[in-house]
Subunit: 226 residues, 2 copies
Amino acid sequence: MLTQTITRNSSQAVRVTRSVPANIVSLGSSIAMMGAVMPFARNVEIYGENETADYLYKVVSGVVRTYKLLSDGRRQIGSFYLPGDIFGLEFGGEHTSSAEAVADSKIHVIKRSAVVALAGRDKEIARQLWRMTATELQGAQDHIMLLVKTAKERVVGFLLEMAERNLGASEFDLPMSRQDIADYLGLTIETVSRTVKQLVNSGAIAVPTSRHIVLRSRGALNRMNA
Amino acid sequence: MLTQTITRNSSQAVRVTRSVPANIVSLGSSIAMMGAVMPFARNVEIYGENETADYLYKVVSGVVRTYKLLSDGRRQIGSFYLPGDIFGLEFGGEHTSSAEAVADSKIHVIKRSAVVALAGRDKEIARQLWRMTATELQGAQDHIMLLVKTAKERVVGFLLEMAERNLGASEFDLPMSRQDIADYLGLTIETVSRTVKQLVNSGAIAVPTSRHIVLRSRGALNRMNA
DNA sequence: CGACCATTTGATATGGATCAAGCGATGTGG
DNA sequence: CCACATCGCTTGATCCATATCAAATGGTCG
């Protein structure tokens, strides 16, 4: 089912932690000054499930997917992370999913211990760590709702979600493959492909190239979204 | 599909907050001394989706389900909460699901503001709030993995989860109906019923009464769990 | 006892998976 | 720079797991 390079990228982030003023309020901005930016090529693993979570990550450019495998090889993608998104934050010491670059990406890598230490001193940072986990939870709950819907509803839900992530644009590129979409939605690529075609035929969307989506009728899409 | 009493329980928790020593370490125990225990009858709503999250809750006895409804009435149960479990904690101000008593239950109700205030003073409490959210996240991720499996795998997964929650006992009562199980697993009650029957026929479990489960072969069950 | 609700069982329908092939774009080696 | 191999996506034919529709059974409570 999957054909992916499992080449392990073994280079490590160079530690560039600087002394950080105590009144930092935004985790995102404090992250910007801690750690280093690393490039990851398409399909390269960023971390593996059950590995020690020594770092957290912020997408600078590109896209990342997190996923879990079932024993028989079925893959379930948990989330896609776009530029600006932070991922890999765990409460416990281990990653609960694997992470890979969907496309060539630049990722800010920050030592977890540095952030946790910062949170110990700065209540606001601690609060933001909590909020990030809460946001992830919200996303997982939305994902659950997606997975109990029909194929058409799942695809529509996915496209609307991607549109939102693109600031509500009604035209955008999909950075991930049909297989990625299928594994995110719990469908097969054939079903994704056929469902997209249906949406095109109904005039709700246009797909000038397979990776480019144009939302033609939000109304129709929202109605199909249950 | 659903037949449930939507009687709103309008009584409010009496505030019984006492002054709490600053060195409290366990959120669970601090909760035990804040707020009041309230009874909720079977199928009575504890809170509704989008309501202001003024309280959080700890199950003293009985069982609670949280759920969301799709516009057409399909219900997805997010979690079941058993005695000792805390639920209803939100990072933001609103509940993201509704909550109902599955059976007659006693619930400890705590003012959220009291806990948040406590967390502002006590770093350890703040950390526990974060951990609770992380635990919820973990549960939601496990739920996602359940929802992409076959019907048999879902039912087996559910039974193993319930066994774990009963301290690993290989014999336990199900406090919830087949409809609740179906709505948790994203299946119909007929499929749940038939799948359970299959497991009985294969000798993996016994079901002396519909609400009582005996795990006969963990090995077989684990093998079926993918 | 009788009514009601939960669960099971049976018959049939169907959405999405599977199996198989074709097509178009992309990149690579000669 | 072309030719061919490869990869990602689509399309078609068929199958099957689960839903749906319908009815019977069982359990519980007034």
